[in-house]
Each structure stands twice: as structure tokens, then as C-alpha cells.
């Protein structure tokens, strides 16, 4: 019987190597719409993490025998049950001072694709304990991206950190727009992708390193510049593999290779 993967290994694979936001394009809406400042992004990250972890635990403990199309609605109900008290506290107890835009983004987290995708691809197929750890890793991975986006966008766009002015001479206000977030996401994805390539050499030196996820070894294939488009779209295939694992959930979407009439396959 294979050893159970450690938390660090799960973290490395789930939060870093297969970062849900950067490589699976899940939960992009809260990231793009709600991370114009550090304070907002911390708030979004906290709510998204709570929603994801609680939904994953409930999905793996209670929803395994429920039809898939009903489970999707249950995630919405769970999400609303989580965001309602948060919104209520914000409005009635002035818990924290947050922008108007965030008050609209928080309820939208109830229907974010990250929760639904993670619960459907992993939680409903695994025990609650395992699901908790994996969802926590996914939440940490997504939160990391959200907080970095918020920090960079605030520094570049507003010239401040957490509301404290850095007294910069030049700021680029467009960073506060979705455009700015997508640019930051692009650079983050590229940065992480470059790290995903380097452990290949590291692994050959330290084959016993328990932190070395086996999956990273697969990236050796990505090391050489590809001749065909097959490897160019490596990330698309990654997304497709996740979509395929949700086969029934996305059954009609996982149609054959290239519908744009090209040579994807």
C-alpha cells in the first residue's frame, strides 16, 4: 500500500504546481474583481478560503450520494450560508471598512468556480479528512495569488501598501482595473512555471527528498522547446485533464480536440 502523501507534498502539488487560479483558471472572478487593494484582497482570500474548505468538507462527508446537478445547487446554498453572516456583520457592526465593490464581490464568491470544481473533482471522491487537507492547500494556493495580486496592484496602481502611502512619484492607475490583475496573473503564472521546470535538476541530486513531488518529473517533457503545438498548449491540456476528470459534470464540454479547425491534436 503506498504511503499517504505528506501535507508538504500535497501543498506543493495542489497549491504550487497545480495552482488553481494560475494553471486551472478557477476562481478568476474574485481575483480579478476584488484585488485592487491589499485590504480587499485579504478579505476576499479569507472568505474564499472559508467557502472552499467548508464546502469541501460538507461535499465529502454528506453529498457523495446526491445527484451531481443537485450538489451544484448545494454549493450555492453553502456559499450563501457562509457569506450572509459576513455581509451582515460588515453592514451592521462595521466590522471592517471595505469598499462598495467588495460588498458585491463577496456574495459572488458563493458561486465561484473554484469551490464547485474542487468539490466535484476531488472532495466527493475522497474521505473528509483527506478532502480537508487538499482543500486547505488549494485555498492557500488561491489565497497566495489573491494577496500577491492585491499587494502589487495597490503598490503600482495607488502607490501605497494597506492604505499607507509610499509617496511614489508615479503610479499606474490602470493596475486597479481587470487589465492590471490579468497582467500580474500572467507574470505570476510564468514565474511559477519557471520554478516548475527547475526541480528536474534538483530531483536528480536529491532523489530521496520527500518534498519532491513525483509529478514535477513530468515537466522534463516541457523543458525542450516544442516543435509542434502539442506542447505549446501544455496548460490547456492540463485544464482539459481536469475537465475530463469531471466528465459527467462537464460531459458535453469535453468534446474532441480542436473545434477551431486547427491541428491541436
Amino acid at each position: 500500500m503506498p504511503d499517504k502523501p505528506s501535507f508538504s507534498k500535497k501543498f506543493l502539488v495542489t497549491a504550487i504546481r497545480n495552482n488553481p487560479v494560475l494553471f486551472q483558471c478557477a476562481g478568476l472572478c474574485p481575483v480579478i474583481a476584488g484585488t485592487s487593494t491589499l485590504k480587499d484582497s485579504l478579505f476576499i482570500a479569507a472568505v474564499l478560503s472559508i467557502d472552499l474548505v467548508l464546502s469541501a468538507i460538507v461535499a465529502s462527508a454528506l453529498l457523495k450520494k446526491i445527484p451531481r446537478y443537485i450538489r451544484i445547487a448545494v454549493y450555492l446554498v453553502l456559499g450563501l450560508a457562509i457569506v450572509y453572516p459576513i455581509l451582515w456583520f460588515i453592514e451592521n457592526r462595521t466590522l471592517v471598512e471595505i469598499t462598495l465593490g467588495i460588498r458585491i464581490i463577496i456574495p459572488i464568491i458563493a458561486v465561484n468556480s473554484l469551490t464547485a470544481m474542487h468539490c466535484e473533482t476531488y472532495s466527493v471522491k475522497h474521505p473528509a479528512g483527506d478532502s480537508f487537507i487538499t482543500s486547505l492547500c488549494a485555498a492557500l494556493g488561491a489565497s497566495g495569488v489573491i494577496v500577491i495580486c492585491g499587494l502589487l496592484r495597490e503598490i503600482i496602481g495607488k502607490g501605497s501598501i494597506g492604505g499607507y502611502s509610499l509617496e511614489m512619484n508615479t503610479t499606474l492607475e490602470t493596475m486597479s482595473m481587470p487589465f492590471g490583475c490579468l497582467i500580474v496573473l500572467g507574470f505570476l503564472a510564468a514565474l511559477l512555471k519557471s520554478f516548475r521546470r527547475t526541480p528536474v535538476r534538483y530531483a536528480s541530486d536529491n532523489t530521496d527528498n520527500p518534498l519532491q513531488p513525483e509529478e514535477i518529473a513530468l515537466d522534463i517533457e516541457h523543458e525542450e522547446p516544442p516543435e509542434s503545438v502539442d506542447l505549446v498548449i501544455a496548460d490547456y491540456e492540463e485544464i482539459d485533464s481536469i475537465l475530463s476528470s469531471t466528465d459527467e459534470f462537464l460531459k458535453s464540454l469535453t468534446s474532441s480536440s480542436d473545434e477551431w479547425g486547427g491541428d491541436r491534436e
Partner: protein, 194 residues
């Protein structure tokens, strides 16, 4: 005629000017995932428009009749309950009566996404009339498909480009490409960028 004009103007505004996928990032995950599959676009356009229209109109009637629904927390519950109910009715109908199990899976993605859920909020914040709510509902579906078509066709060109450095291939290049389209749409809104 006046109503039809208003309907058309709001719909066109929602699709081309205020394209909420590109200017706010709503429904972006779903757009990026379906963009390589143009055969599903028509299906998604119809489904998202349908869910958006029905949800918008129902939310409009509920919130206009009840003055107690004025907080963001209350609106979240009402809009969520309406969207969940509309989805479940559609899913039960498709699954049990039409017995089209394949489309039940798509219904979940088309209904329970951030774009459809945000439409009633946008209608509310813009103080839209019933006609405007109808038009913005229709527009949301077509805005989604327009964004998916733009991203999908661009993705093809990016994949074929051999000059992109290896670490930027795949999702990093896609993010940059979507950022450029997003910037273009923001230009339509008249926002001053610099």
C-alpha cells in the same frame, strides 16, 4: 417601438460597451474554459441569457415589491435563492422530463456562475427598469459568448506563435492576451486610462 429601441440599446451596451466579462472579470473562469470549444457557444449563449433574464426579472419584481430587501446581505440571499430555484427547476425539467442528461451538466455551469449571479446586482446598482433588466439579461449571454470567441480565436494564434518564450506559453500568454482585450473594452467605456 420605443420599448424595442430601449431594449436594443441596453442589450448592445451590455454586450459591447459594458461587457462585464471583459471589464469586470465576471464569469472569466468559465469563458476561458469553454473558449476552445466554439460548438458549445450557442448553447451557452441561450442558457446564460435565459438564466440571466429570468433571474433578473424575478429579482426586479421581488426587490421592487419589498422595501425590506435593501441591504447587501439580504440581496445576496434573495438573488441566490432565486437563481438556485430557477436552476433547480430547469435541471429537474431537463433531467426528469426531457431526460437530456448531457445538458444537465452544462446547465450547472451556465446557471451557477459569477456572471449570472452578478446581473441582478448590476441591474440594481444601475437602477434599471424592467425593460433594461430584460435587455441586460440577454446581453449577458451574448457578452459571454463574444468574450469566449475573442479569447478562443486569440488562443489559436498564441499556440501557433513560436516566438513566445517557453515559460510564457500556455496560461501566462493567455492572461496577457485577455488583459489586452480587457483594456480594449475598457476603452469603449470612456474611462480615462492615463
Amino acid at each position: 417601438m420605443k420599448i424595442l429601441t430601449q431594449l436594443l440599446i441596453t442589450a448592445l451596451y451590455t454586450i459591447f460597451v459594458q461587457n462585464i466579462v471583459m471589464t469586470s472579470g465576471l464569469g472569466m473562469s468559465e469563458v476561458m474554459r469553454i473558449s476552445p470549444r466554439p460548438r458549445t457557444f450557442a448553447k451557452f449563449a441561450v442558457m446564460i441569457s435565459g438564466f440571466s433574464v429570468v433571474t433578473s426579472v424575478l429579482c426586479y419584481f421581488i426587490t421592487s415589491k419589498s422595501s425590506s430587501i435593501d441591504s447587501y446581505a439580504a440581496k445576496a440571499v434573495v438573488y441566490g435563492a432565486v437563481l438556485g430555484s430557477v436552476y433547480l427547476i430547469a435541471a429537474f425539467f431537463t433531467n426528469l422530463i426531457v431526460k437530456d442528461k448531457e445538458n444537465v451538466a452544462v446547465l450547472g455551469i451556465a446557471a451557477l456562475n459569477t456572471l449570472v449571479f452578478a446581473v441582478p446586482y448590476i441591474n440594481d446598482s444601475a437602477a434599471y427598469s424592467l425593460i433594461d433588466c430584460l435587455a441586460s439579461g440577454f446581453g449577458a449571454g451574448f457578452a459571454f459568448v463574444l468574450a469566449a470567441a475573442l479569447i478562443g480565436s486569440g488562443a489559436r494564434l498564441i499556440e501557433k506563435n513560436k516566438h513566445i518564450p517557453a515559460v510564457f506559453k500556455g496560461t501566462p500568454a493567455m492572461f496577457f492576451y485577455v488583459a489586452m482585450i480587457s483594456l480594449g473594452f475598457i476603452g469603449f467605456t470612456g474611462t480615462q486610462l492615463f
